[in-house]
Protein backbone atom coordinates (compact mmCIF):
# COMPACT_ATOMS: atom_id res chain seq x y z
CA UNK A 1 0.00 0.00 0.00
CA UNK A 2 1.19 3.46 -0.82
CA UNK A 3 2.43 5.41 2.22
CA UNK A 4 0.35 8.47 3.08
CA UNK A 5 3.48 10.47 3.84
CA UNK A 6 6.94 10.02 2.42
CA UNK A 7 10.17 11.96 2.88
CA UNK A 8 12.97 11.36 0.40
CA UNK A 9 16.50 12.45 1.22
CA UNK A 10 15.24 15.55 3.04
CA UNK A 11 17.86 17.91 4.47
CA UNK A 12 17.40 21.21 6.24
CA UNK A 13 20.44 23.42 6.66
CA UNK A 14 20.59 26.64 8.63
CA UNK A 15 23.66 28.85 8.62
CA UNK A 16 26.27 26.93 10.59
CA UNK A 17 23.93 24.10 11.52
CA UNK A 18 22.38 21.13 9.76
CA UNK A 19 19.11 20.34 11.51
CA UNK A 20 17.99 17.43 9.33
CA UNK A 21 20.33 15.26 7.27
CA UNK A 22 19.21 13.18 4.29
CA UNK A 23 16.19 11.88 6.06
CA UNK A 24 14.02 9.33 4.26
CA UNK A 25 10.97 7.72 5.74
CA UNK A 26 7.57 6.34 4.84
CA UNK A 27 4.53 6.59 7.07
CA UNK A 28 1.83 3.98 6.34
CA UNK A 29 -1.76 5.20 6.21
CA UNK A 30 -3.56 4.97 9.54
CA UNK A 31 -0.40 4.45 11.57
CA UNK A 32 0.72 6.16 14.74
CA UNK A 33 4.30 7.04 13.89
CA UNK A 34 6.60 8.52 16.54
CA UNK A 35 9.74 10.50 15.86
CA UNK A 36 11.83 9.90 18.95
CA UNK A 37 15.07 11.58 19.88
CA UNK A 38 16.85 13.90 22.29
CA UNK A 39 16.25 17.65 22.11
CA UNK A 40 17.99 19.23 19.17
CA UNK A 41 17.98 16.02 17.11
CA UNK A 42 15.87 17.58 14.35
CA UNK A 43 12.56 15.89 15.08
CA UNK A 44 10.57 19.09 15.49
CA UNK A 45 12.21 20.57 12.39
CA UNK A 46 11.12 17.44 10.49
CA UNK A 47 7.56 17.98 11.68
CA UNK A 48 7.68 21.64 10.61
CA UNK A 49 8.98 20.62 7.19
CA UNK A 50 5.96 18.36 6.74
CA UNK A 51 3.58 21.10 7.96
CA UNK A 52 5.17 23.57 5.54
CA UNK A 53 6.44 26.09 8.09
CA UNK A 54 9.96 25.36 6.89
CA UNK A 55 11.22 24.52 3.43
CA UNK A 56 13.67 21.64 2.93
CA UNK A 57 17.08 22.70 1.64
CA UNK A 58 17.19 19.55 -0.47
CA UNK A 59 14.98 16.52 -0.84
CA UNK A 60 11.28 15.97 -1.43
CA UNK A 61 8.15 15.48 0.65
CA UNK A 62 5.19 13.53 -0.72
CA UNK A 63 1.64 13.43 0.59
CA UNK A 64 -0.45 10.68 -1.03
CA UNK A 65 2.23 10.38 -3.68
CA UNK A 66 2.05 14.08 -4.61
CA UNK A 67 5.13 16.22 -4.08
CA UNK A 68 4.15 19.02 -1.67
CA UNK A 69 7.47 20.87 -1.30
CA UNK A 70 6.16 24.05 -2.91
CA UNK A 71 2.76 24.07 -1.18
CA UNK A 72 2.08 26.63 1.52
CA UNK A 73 0.94 25.41 4.95
CA UNK A 74 -2.66 26.41 4.10
CA UNK A 75 -2.52 24.34 0.92
CA UNK A 76 -1.37 21.12 2.62
CA UNK A 77 -3.90 18.71 3.98
CA UNK A 78 -1.98 18.11 7.18
CA UNK A 79 -2.67 19.70 10.53
CA UNK A 80 -0.51 20.38 13.57
CA UNK A 81 -1.18 20.12 17.29
CA UNK A 82 1.39 22.56 18.60
CA UNK A 83 3.45 21.95 21.71
CA UNK A 84 1.89 24.99 23.42
CA UNK A 85 -1.40 24.21 21.56
CA UNK A 86 -1.45 27.70 19.95
CA UNK A 87 -5.16 28.10 20.59
CA UNK A 88 -6.69 31.43 19.59
CA UNK A 89 -7.20 33.36 22.85
CA UNK A 90 -9.81 35.69 21.32
CA UNK A 91 -12.11 32.82 20.35
CA UNK A 92 -14.22 30.40 22.35
CA UNK A 93 -13.73 26.65 22.44
CA UNK A 94 -16.24 26.32 19.61
CA UNK A 95 -14.68 29.22 17.70
CA UNK A 96 -11.32 27.47 17.82
CA UNK A 97 -12.71 24.14 16.65
CA UNK A 98 -14.65 25.80 13.81
CA UNK A 99 -11.70 27.90 12.66
CA UNK A 100 -10.59 25.63 9.82
CA UNK A 101 -14.08 24.91 8.47
CA UNK A 102 -14.62 27.03 5.38
CA UNK A 103 -18.41 27.16 5.38
CA UNK A 104 -20.97 27.01 8.13
CA UNK A 105 -22.91 24.17 6.54
CA UNK A 106 -25.12 21.71 8.39
CA UNK A 107 -22.42 19.14 7.70
CA UNK A 108 -19.81 21.39 9.33
CA UNK A 109 -22.07 21.99 12.33
CA UNK A 110 -22.53 18.25 12.76
CA UNK A 111 -18.80 17.68 12.56
CA UNK A 112 -18.08 20.28 15.22
CA UNK A 113 -20.72 18.75 17.48
CA UNK A 114 -19.24 15.28 16.99
CA UNK A 115 -15.74 16.50 17.85
CA UNK A 116 -16.99 18.31 20.95
CA UNK A 117 -18.58 15.04 22.10
CA UNK A 118 -15.58 12.93 21.11
CA UNK A 119 -13.29 15.20 23.13
CA UNK A 120 -15.67 15.41 26.11
CA UNK A 121 -15.99 19.17 25.78
CA UNK A 122 -19.78 19.35 26.13
CA UNK A 123 -20.84 22.35 28.16
CA UNK A 124 -17.51 24.11 27.56
CA UNK A 125 -18.28 25.27 23.99
CA UNK A 126 -18.73 28.92 24.87
CA UNK A 127 -15.82 29.22 27.29
CA UNK A 128 -12.77 31.24 26.43
CA UNK A 129 -9.46 29.41 26.20
CA UNK A 130 -8.25 31.12 29.38
CA UNK A 131 -11.19 29.60 31.23
CA UNK A 132 -10.42 25.92 30.61
CA UNK A 133 -7.83 23.53 32.05
CA UNK A 134 -4.61 22.33 30.42
CA UNK A 135 -6.08 18.94 29.58
CA UNK A 136 -9.13 20.59 28.02
CA UNK A 137 -6.90 22.87 25.98
CA UNK A 138 -5.14 19.87 24.55
CA UNK A 139 -8.46 18.31 23.59
CA UNK A 140 -9.56 21.57 21.93
CA UNK A 141 -6.28 21.62 19.98
CA UNK A 142 -6.89 18.03 18.86
CA UNK A 143 -10.51 18.77 17.90
CA UNK A 144 -9.51 21.90 16.00
CA UNK A 145 -6.96 19.96 13.96
CA UNK A 146 -9.22 16.96 13.38
CA UNK A 147 -12.04 19.28 12.22
CA UNK A 148 -10.23 19.95 8.95
CA UNK A 149 -10.05 16.17 8.28
CA UNK A 150 -6.29 16.09 7.71
CA UNK A 151 -4.54 13.26 5.88
CA UNK A 152 -1.89 13.37 8.59
CA UNK A 153 -2.11 14.86 12.07
CA UNK A 154 1.22 16.17 13.32
CA UNK A 155 1.70 16.34 17.09
CA UNK A 156 4.64 18.20 18.58
CA UNK A 157 5.40 16.84 22.07
CA UNK A 158 1.66 16.57 22.78
CA UNK A 159 2.06 15.42 26.37
CA UNK A 160 4.91 17.64 27.54
CA UNK A 161 2.67 20.52 28.67
CA UNK A 162 0.60 18.23 30.87
CA UNK A 163 0.91 17.38 34.52
CA UNK A 164 3.12 14.25 34.88
CA UNK A 165 0.25 12.45 36.61
CA UNK A 166 -2.07 13.12 33.68
CA UNK A 167 0.47 12.05 31.08
CA UNK A 168 0.05 8.29 31.29
CA UNK A 169 -3.70 8.55 31.16
CA UNK A 170 -3.72 11.01 28.26
CA UNK A 171 -1.26 8.97 26.24
CA UNK A 172 -3.58 5.97 26.42
CA UNK A 173 -6.48 8.21 25.41
CA UNK A 174 -4.45 9.57 22.51
CA UNK A 175 -3.79 6.04 21.28
CA UNK A 176 -7.45 5.05 21.48
CA UNK A 177 -8.49 8.31 19.82
CA UNK A 178 -6.11 7.62 16.94
CA UNK A 179 -7.58 4.13 16.51
CA UNK A 180 -11.12 5.48 16.58
CA UNK A 181 -10.68 8.31 14.08
CA UNK A 182 -8.28 6.31 11.90
CA UNK A 183 -6.22 9.37 10.99
CA UNK A 184 -2.48 8.93 10.53
CA UNK A 185 -0.62 10.49 13.47
CA UNK A 186 3.00 11.61 13.33
CA UNK A 187 4.07 12.40 16.85
CA UNK A 188 7.28 13.97 18.06
CA UNK A 189 8.59 13.04 21.50
CA UNK A 190 11.76 12.75 23.52
CA UNK A 191 10.18 10.29 25.96
CA UNK A 192 11.07 6.72 24.97
CA UNK A 193 8.45 5.17 27.22
CA UNK A 194 5.77 7.31 25.61
CA UNK A 195 6.94 6.32 22.12
CA UNK A 196 7.21 2.61 22.99
CA UNK A 197 3.80 2.48 24.61
CA UNK A 198 1.62 4.09 21.94
CA UNK A 199 3.36 3.80 18.56
CA UNK A 200 2.86 1.48 15.62
CA UNK A 201 6.25 2.61 14.33
CA UNK A 202 9.09 4.54 15.90
CA UNK A 203 11.72 6.51 14.03
CA UNK A 204 14.71 7.22 16.25
CA UNK A 205 16.58 10.40 15.38
CA UNK A 206 20.02 11.57 16.42
CA UNK A 207 21.88 14.67 15.25
CA UNK A 208 19.56 15.20 12.29
CA UNK A 209 19.71 11.63 11.10
CA UNK A 210 17.08 8.92 11.26
CA UNK A 211 19.01 6.04 12.82
CA UNK A 212 16.32 3.40 12.74
CA UNK A 213 12.65 2.89 11.96
CA UNK A 214 10.72 -0.04 13.32
CA UNK A 215 8.01 -1.36 15.56
CA UNK A 216 8.53 -0.58 19.26
CA UNK A 217 9.61 -4.11 20.13
CA UNK A 218 11.99 -4.19 17.18
CA UNK A 219 13.80 -0.93 17.97
CA UNK A 220 14.03 -1.88 21.63
CA UNK A 221 15.17 -5.46 21.18
CA UNK A 222 17.04 -5.12 17.88
CA UNK A 223 18.53 -1.63 17.92
CA UNK A 224 20.72 -1.08 14.90
CA UNK A 225 23.07 1.42 16.54
CA UNK A 226 24.53 1.98 19.97
CA UNK A 227 22.68 5.28 20.13
CA UNK A 228 19.30 3.65 19.53
CA UNK A 229 20.10 0.94 22.09
CA UNK A 230 21.03 3.37 24.84
CA UNK A 231 18.37 6.00 24.03
CA UNK A 232 15.55 3.45 24.32
CA UNK A 233 16.70 1.93 27.60
CA UNK A 234 19.59 0.95 29.83
CA UNK A 235 22.33 -1.27 28.33
CA UNK A 236 25.09 -3.27 29.99
CA UNK A 237 28.26 -3.30 27.92
CA UNK A 238 29.94 -6.69 28.43
CA UNK A 239 32.91 -7.71 26.25
CA UNK A 240 31.70 -5.33 23.54
CA UNK A 241 28.27 -6.86 23.59
CA UNK A 242 25.17 -5.03 24.77
CA UNK A 243 22.66 -6.73 27.06
CA UNK A 244 19.56 -5.10 28.58
CA UNK A 245 19.47 -5.27 32.42
CA UNK A 246 16.23 -7.25 32.36
CA UNK A 247 17.88 -9.84 30.06
CA UNK A 248 20.85 -10.14 32.42
CA UNK A 249 20.58 -13.06 34.89
CA UNK A 250 22.70 -13.83 37.87
CA UNK A 251 23.86 -17.07 39.49
CA UNK A 252 26.47 -18.15 42.01
CA UNK A 253 27.81 -21.00 39.82
CA UNK A 254 29.05 -20.86 36.22
CA UNK A 255 26.16 -21.52 33.81
CA UNK A 256 26.38 -24.84 31.96
CA UNK A 257 24.17 -24.18 28.95
CA UNK A 258 25.36 -22.36 25.83
CA UNK A 259 24.77 -18.84 27.05
CA UNK A 260 26.85 -15.70 27.35
CA UNK A 261 28.41 -15.30 30.78
CA UNK A 262 31.02 -13.37 32.72
CA UNK A 263 32.23 -13.42 36.36
CA UNK A 264 31.55 -10.39 38.50
CA UNK A 265 31.45 -9.10 42.08
CA UNK A 266 28.23 -7.75 43.61
CA UNK A 267 28.58 -4.15 44.63
CA UNK A 268 25.07 -3.22 45.66
CA UNK A 269 21.58 -4.64 45.80
CA UNK A 270 18.84 -2.08 45.34
CA UNK A 271 15.28 -2.98 46.20
CA UNK A 272 12.83 -1.13 43.90
CA UNK A 273 9.55 -2.73 44.92
CA UNK A 274 8.53 -4.47 41.71
CA UNK A 275 12.11 -5.66 41.03
CA UNK A 276 15.64 -5.64 42.35
CA UNK A 277 18.67 -4.05 40.71
CA UNK A 278 21.87 -5.95 41.41
CA UNK A 279 24.89 -3.81 40.56
CA UNK A 280 27.96 -5.87 39.84
CA UNK A 281 31.52 -4.97 38.90
CA UNK A 282 33.31 -6.88 36.13
CA UNK A 283 37.00 -7.69 36.31
CA UNK A 284 37.80 -4.78 33.98
CA UNK A 285 36.06 -2.38 36.38
CA UNK A 286 32.88 -1.93 34.26
CA UNK A 287 29.71 -1.78 36.37
CA UNK A 288 26.64 -3.59 35.05
CA UNK A 289 23.10 -3.93 36.36
CA UNK A 290 20.95 -7.03 36.45
CA UNK A 291 17.24 -6.39 36.90
CA UNK A 292 15.93 -9.47 38.68
CA UNK A 293 12.80 -10.63 40.50
CA UNK A 294 12.74 -10.35 44.27
CA UNK A 295 13.43 -14.10 44.67
CA UNK A 296 16.88 -13.47 43.10
CA UNK A 297 17.70 -10.69 45.51
CA UNK A 298 19.60 -12.95 47.91
CA UNK A 299 22.98 -11.73 46.68
CA UNK A 300 24.92 -9.49 49.02
CA UNK A 301 27.72 -7.01 48.60
CA UNK A 302 31.04 -8.73 47.85
CA UNK A 303 29.53 -12.02 46.57
CA UNK A 304 31.39 -13.59 43.63
CA UNK A 305 28.74 -14.32 40.99
CA UNK A 306 28.28 -15.12 37.32
CA UNK A 307 26.22 -12.89 35.09
CA UNK A 308 24.68 -14.71 32.15
CA UNK A 309 22.24 -14.06 29.32
CA UNK A 310 20.59 -15.74 26.39
CA UNK A 311 22.61 -15.31 23.18
CA UNK A 312 19.39 -14.23 21.48
CA UNK A 313 19.17 -11.24 23.81
CA UNK A 314 22.53 -9.81 22.79
CA UNK A 315 22.24 -6.47 21.07
CA UNK A 316 24.23 -6.50 17.81
CA UNK A 317 24.94 -3.38 15.84
CA UNK A 318 25.38 -3.20 12.13
CA UNK A 319 27.63 -0.18 12.43
Amino acid sequence: MEPVLELRQVSKRYPGHEAVRELSLQVPRGALFSLLGPSGCGKTTTLRLVAGFEQPTTGDIYLNGVRINSLKPYERNVSTVFQNYALFPHLTVRGNIEFGLRRRTAEAERRVRELIELMHLEGKEDRRISEISGGERQRVALARSLAVAPEVLLLDEPLSALDPKLRKQVRAELRSLQRRVGVTFVLVTHDQEEALSISDLIGVMNQGRLEQVGEPREVYQRPRTRFVASFLGAVNWVDGVGVRPEATRISSTPPTADVGSIPATVRETIFLGNCIHVEAELEDGEVVVAEVGWQDGRFARGDRVYLWWDRADELRFTE
Partner: protein
Protein backbone atom coordinates in the same frame (compact mmCIF):
# COMPACT_ATOMS: atom_id res chain seq x y z
CA UNK B 1 0.32 56.88 48.85
CA UNK B 2 -2.40 58.49 46.75
CA UNK B 3 -2.06 61.85 48.49
CA UNK B 4 0.78 63.27 46.32
CA UNK B 5 -1.11 62.27 43.19
CA UNK B 6 -4.27 63.87 44.53
CA UNK B 7 -2.44 67.10 45.29
CA UNK B 8 -0.80 67.08 41.88
CA UNK B 9 -4.15 66.50 40.16
CA UNK B 10 -5.77 69.25 42.23
CA UNK B 11 -3.09 71.83 41.48
CA UNK B 12 -2.37 71.06 37.85
CA UNK B 13 -5.67 69.66 36.55
CA UNK B 14 -8.65 70.53 38.68
CA UNK B 15 -7.69 74.13 39.51
CA UNK B 16 -6.94 75.28 35.92
CA UNK B 17 -10.05 73.49 34.69
CA UNK B 18 -12.07 75.21 37.40
CA UNK B 19 -10.73 78.57 36.25
CA UNK B 20 -11.64 77.82 32.64
CA UNK B 21 -15.07 76.60 33.68
CA UNK B 22 -15.68 79.76 35.70
CA UNK B 23 -14.60 81.99 32.78
CA UNK B 24 -16.99 80.21 30.44
CA UNK B 25 -19.96 81.50 32.45
CA UNK B 26 -18.78 85.14 32.53
CA UNK B 27 -19.33 87.93 30.03
CA UNK B 28 -16.75 89.59 27.79
CA UNK B 29 -15.89 93.06 29.14
CA UNK B 30 -15.90 96.18 26.94
CA UNK B 31 -12.10 95.99 26.49
CA UNK B 32 -11.88 92.21 26.27
CA UNK B 33 -11.61 91.52 29.98
CA UNK B 34 -13.88 89.43 32.11
CA UNK B 35 -16.96 90.89 33.69
CA UNK B 36 -20.25 89.97 35.23
CA UNK B 37 -23.05 89.03 34.84
CA UNK B 38 -22.82 85.22 34.99
CA UNK B 39 -24.49 83.77 31.89
CA UNK B 40 -25.07 80.69 29.70
CA UNK B 41 -24.83 82.88 26.59
CA UNK B 42 -21.40 81.50 25.61
CA UNK B 43 -22.76 78.00 25.33
CA UNK B 44 -25.85 79.11 23.44
CA UNK B 45 -23.61 80.81 20.86
CA UNK B 46 -21.97 77.45 20.09
CA UNK B 47 -25.18 76.31 18.40
CA UNK B 48 -24.56 78.88 15.63
CA UNK B 49 -24.17 76.97 12.31
CA UNK B 50 -20.87 78.80 11.75
CA UNK B 51 -19.36 77.15 14.83
CA UNK B 52 -21.12 73.81 14.32
CA UNK B 53 -19.51 73.62 10.87
CA UNK B 54 -16.09 74.13 12.47
CA UNK B 55 -16.77 71.37 15.00
CA UNK B 56 -18.02 69.03 12.27
CA UNK B 57 -14.95 69.77 10.12
CA UNK B 58 -12.68 69.08 13.11
CA UNK B 59 -14.29 65.69 13.69
CA UNK B 60 -14.05 64.86 9.98
CA UNK B 61 -10.37 65.84 9.74
CA UNK B 62 -9.51 63.97 12.96
CA UNK B 63 -11.38 60.87 11.71
CA UNK B 64 -9.72 60.89 8.28
CA UNK B 65 -6.32 61.43 9.90
CA UNK B 66 -6.91 58.51 12.29
CA UNK B 67 -7.99 56.25 9.42
CA UNK B 68 -4.92 57.17 7.34
CA UNK B 69 -2.61 56.68 10.33
CA UNK B 70 -4.14 53.22 10.76
CA UNK B 71 -3.68 52.29 7.12
CA UNK B 72 -0.07 53.50 7.11
CA UNK B 73 0.81 52.55 10.68
CA UNK B 74 -0.40 48.96 10.71
CA UNK B 75 1.89 47.62 7.96
CA UNK B 76 4.76 49.62 9.42
CA UNK B 77 4.16 48.28 12.94
CA UNK B 78 3.85 44.72 11.56
CA UNK B 79 7.11 45.15 9.69
CA UNK B 80 8.84 46.52 12.80
CA UNK B 81 7.53 43.71 15.01
CA UNK B 82 8.91 41.16 12.54
CA UNK B 83 12.31 42.80 12.12
CA UNK B 84 14.11 40.60 14.63
CA UNK B 85 17.20 42.12 16.17
CA UNK B 86 16.96 45.34 14.13
CA UNK B 87 13.51 46.19 15.46
CA UNK B 88 14.64 48.41 18.30
CA UNK B 89 16.89 50.42 16.01
CA UNK B 90 14.01 50.84 13.55
CA UNK B 91 11.68 51.77 16.38
CA UNK B 92 14.14 54.48 17.45
CA UNK B 93 13.92 55.87 13.90
CA UNK B 94 10.13 56.10 14.24
CA UNK B 95 10.58 58.18 17.39
CA UNK B 96 13.46 60.25 15.98
CA UNK B 97 11.25 63.11 14.60
CA UNK B 98 10.24 63.91 18.20
CA UNK B 99 13.75 65.23 18.73
CA UNK B 100 12.84 68.22 16.58
CA UNK B 101 10.14 70.74 17.39
CA UNK B 102 6.79 70.02 15.82
CA UNK B 103 6.66 73.67 14.76
CA UNK B 104 9.93 73.37 12.82
CA UNK B 105 8.76 70.16 11.16
CA UNK B 106 5.51 71.82 10.12
CA UNK B 107 7.43 74.72 8.60
CA UNK B 108 9.53 72.16 6.74
CA UNK B 109 6.32 70.85 5.15
CA UNK B 110 5.47 74.38 4.07
CA UNK B 111 8.81 74.62 2.29
CA UNK B 112 8.08 71.33 0.56
CA UNK B 113 4.50 72.08 -0.44
CA UNK B 114 4.32 75.77 -1.36
CA UNK B 115 4.10 76.93 -4.98
CA UNK B 116 7.85 77.51 -5.19
CA UNK B 117 8.56 74.57 -2.87
CA UNK B 118 10.62 71.48 -3.55
CA UNK B 119 7.78 69.29 -4.79
CA UNK B 120 6.32 71.80 -7.24
CA UNK B 121 9.76 72.90 -8.45
CA UNK B 122 10.77 69.31 -9.18
CA UNK B 123 7.49 68.57 -10.97
CA UNK B 124 7.77 71.72 -13.10
CA UNK B 125 11.46 71.08 -13.86
CA UNK B 126 10.62 67.53 -14.87
CA UNK B 127 8.03 68.94 -17.26
CA UNK B 128 5.22 66.98 -15.67
CA UNK B 129 3.17 70.10 -14.87
CA UNK B 130 3.20 73.68 -16.14
CA UNK B 131 1.54 75.45 -13.23
CA UNK B 132 2.44 74.65 -9.61
CA UNK B 133 -0.11 72.39 -7.93
CA UNK B 134 -2.09 73.90 -5.02
CA UNK B 135 -0.47 71.66 -2.41
CA UNK B 136 -0.54 74.07 0.50
CA UNK B 137 -3.27 76.01 2.34
CA UNK B 138 -6.08 73.48 1.98
CA UNK B 139 -7.66 70.67 3.97
CA UNK B 140 -5.48 68.07 2.23
CA UNK B 141 -2.33 69.81 3.45
CA UNK B 142 -3.75 69.92 7.00
CA UNK B 143 -4.49 66.18 6.94
CA UNK B 144 -1.06 65.43 5.49
CA UNK B 145 0.59 67.41 8.28
CA UNK B 146 -1.53 65.77 10.98
CA UNK B 147 -0.89 62.25 9.64
CA UNK B 148 2.82 62.95 9.48
CA UNK B 149 2.90 64.32 13.02
CA UNK B 150 0.75 61.65 14.66
CA UNK B 151 1.84 58.48 12.88
CA UNK B 152 4.26 57.48 15.69
CA UNK B 153 1.39 57.58 18.21
CA UNK B 154 -0.35 54.93 16.10
CA UNK B 155 2.76 52.87 15.39
CA UNK B 156 4.01 52.56 18.97
CA UNK B 157 0.93 50.92 20.60
CA UNK B 158 0.36 48.79 17.50
CA UNK B 159 3.97 47.64 17.62
CA UNK B 160 3.61 46.75 21.29
CA UNK B 161 0.49 44.68 20.56
CA UNK B 162 1.93 42.94 17.49
CA UNK B 163 5.23 42.18 19.17
CA UNK B 164 3.40 40.27 21.91
CA UNK B 165 1.53 38.22 19.32
CA UNK B 166 2.60 34.58 19.50
CA UNK B 167 4.08 33.49 16.16
CA UNK B 168 2.63 30.01 16.58
CA UNK B 169 -0.91 31.48 16.38
CA UNK B 170 -0.19 32.70 12.86
CA UNK B 171 1.28 29.33 11.98
CA UNK B 172 -1.78 27.62 13.47
CA UNK B 173 -4.10 29.75 11.34
CA UNK B 174 -2.17 28.89 8.16
CA UNK B 175 -2.07 25.27 9.24
CA UNK B 176 -5.89 25.27 9.44
CA UNK B 177 -6.17 26.55 5.89
CA UNK B 178 -6.33 30.33 6.38
CA UNK B 179 -4.66 32.35 3.63
CA UNK B 180 -2.47 35.29 4.73
CA UNK B 181 -5.27 37.83 4.31
CA UNK B 182 -7.71 35.64 6.26
CA UNK B 183 -5.11 35.21 8.99
CA UNK B 184 -4.75 38.99 9.12
CA UNK B 185 -8.47 39.57 9.61
CA UNK B 186 -9.30 36.53 11.74
CA UNK B 187 -6.25 36.36 14.02
CA UNK B 188 -3.81 39.28 13.79
CA UNK B 189 -6.26 42.19 13.81
CA UNK B 190 -8.50 40.86 16.61
CA UNK B 191 -5.46 40.20 18.79
CA UNK B 192 -3.90 43.57 17.97
CA UNK B 193 -7.15 45.36 18.86
CA UNK B 194 -5.96 46.82 22.19
CA UNK B 195 -3.07 48.48 20.34
CA UNK B 196 -5.39 49.50 17.54
CA UNK B 197 -7.83 51.20 19.91
CA UNK B 198 -5.06 52.85 21.95
CA UNK B 199 -3.41 54.14 18.76
CA UNK B 200 -6.69 55.45 17.37
CA UNK B 201 -7.43 57.36 20.60
CA UNK B 202 -3.88 58.73 20.77
CA UNK B 203 -4.24 60.08 17.23
CA UNK B 204 -7.91 61.13 17.19
CA UNK B 205 -8.02 63.14 20.41
CA UNK B 206 -5.02 65.44 19.81
CA UNK B 207 -6.02 65.87 16.15
CA UNK B 208 -9.47 67.02 17.21
CA UNK B 209 -7.91 69.89 19.15
CA UNK B 210 -5.08 70.61 16.69
CA UNK B 211 -4.46 74.30 15.94
CA UNK B 212 -0.83 74.63 14.80
CA UNK B 213 -1.15 72.41 11.75
CA UNK B 214 -4.42 73.89 10.41
CA UNK B 215 -3.04 77.36 11.12
CA UNK B 216 0.20 76.87 9.19
CA UNK B 217 -0.68 74.31 6.52
CA UNK B 218 -4.33 75.37 6.20
CA UNK B 219 -3.35 79.01 5.92
CA UNK B 220 -6.26 80.12 8.06
CA UNK B 221 -8.73 78.76 5.49
CA UNK B 222 -9.24 75.39 7.17
CA UNK B 223 -10.39 76.49 10.60
CA UNK B 224 -10.59 73.76 13.24
CA UNK B 225 -11.88 73.98 16.80
CA UNK B 226 -8.35 74.58 18.07
CA UNK B 227 -8.03 77.67 15.86
CA UNK B 228 -11.40 78.92 17.02
CA UNK B 229 -10.32 78.65 20.68
CA UNK B 230 -6.94 80.22 20.01
CA UNK B 231 -8.62 83.03 18.12
CA UNK B 232 -11.01 83.80 20.97
CA UNK B 233 -8.16 84.06 23.47
CA UNK B 234 -5.98 86.20 21.17
CA UNK B 235 -7.40 88.29 18.31
CA UNK B 236 -11.06 88.28 19.37
CA UNK B 237 -10.23 88.79 23.04
CA UNK B 238 -13.35 86.89 24.03
CA UNK B 239 -12.05 84.67 26.83
CA UNK B 240 -15.46 83.52 28.09
CA UNK B 241 -16.47 82.18 24.67
CA UNK B 242 -13.00 80.60 24.17
CA UNK B 243 -13.37 78.93 27.56
CA UNK B 244 -16.85 77.66 26.65
CA UNK B 245 -15.61 76.15 23.35
CA UNK B 246 -12.69 74.46 25.18
CA UNK B 247 -14.97 72.89 27.75
CA UNK B 248 -17.52 71.84 25.15
CA UNK B 249 -14.82 70.08 23.11
CA UNK B 250 -13.50 68.34 26.18
CA UNK B 251 -16.99 67.27 27.21
CA UNK B 252 -17.60 65.84 23.73
CA UNK B 253 -14.40 63.77 23.85
CA UNK B 254 -15.16 62.52 27.37
CA UNK B 255 -18.71 61.66 26.38
CA UNK B 256 -17.43 59.72 23.35
CA UNK B 257 -14.96 57.80 25.52
CA UNK B 258 -17.60 57.10 28.14
CA UNK B 259 -19.99 55.66 25.55
CA UNK B 260 -17.16 53.58 24.11
CA UNK B 261 -16.21 52.20 27.52
CA UNK B 262 -19.83 51.53 28.50
CA UNK B 263 -20.23 49.45 25.37
CA UNK B 264 -17.49 47.12 26.56
CA UNK B 265 -14.66 49.07 25.07
CA UNK B 266 -12.55 48.66 28.19
CA UNK B 267 -11.70 45.11 27.28
CA UNK B 268 -9.87 46.47 24.24
CA UNK B 269 -7.71 48.72 26.37
Amino acid sequence: MLAPAAVWMAVFVAAPLGVVAAYSFLTRGPYGGLSEPWTLENYVRLADPLYLRIVARSFRIAAVTTALCLLLGFPLALFLARSGRRKHLLLALVILPFWTSYLVRTYAWMFLLRDTGLVNTLLVEAGLIEQPLPLLYNEGAVILGLVYGHLPFMVLPLFAALERLDRSLIEAAADLGARPLQTLFRVVLPLARPGLVAGALLVFIPCLGAYLTPDLLGGGKTVMVGNLIQNQFTAARDWPFGAAVSLALMALVMLGLAVFLRRGGERFL
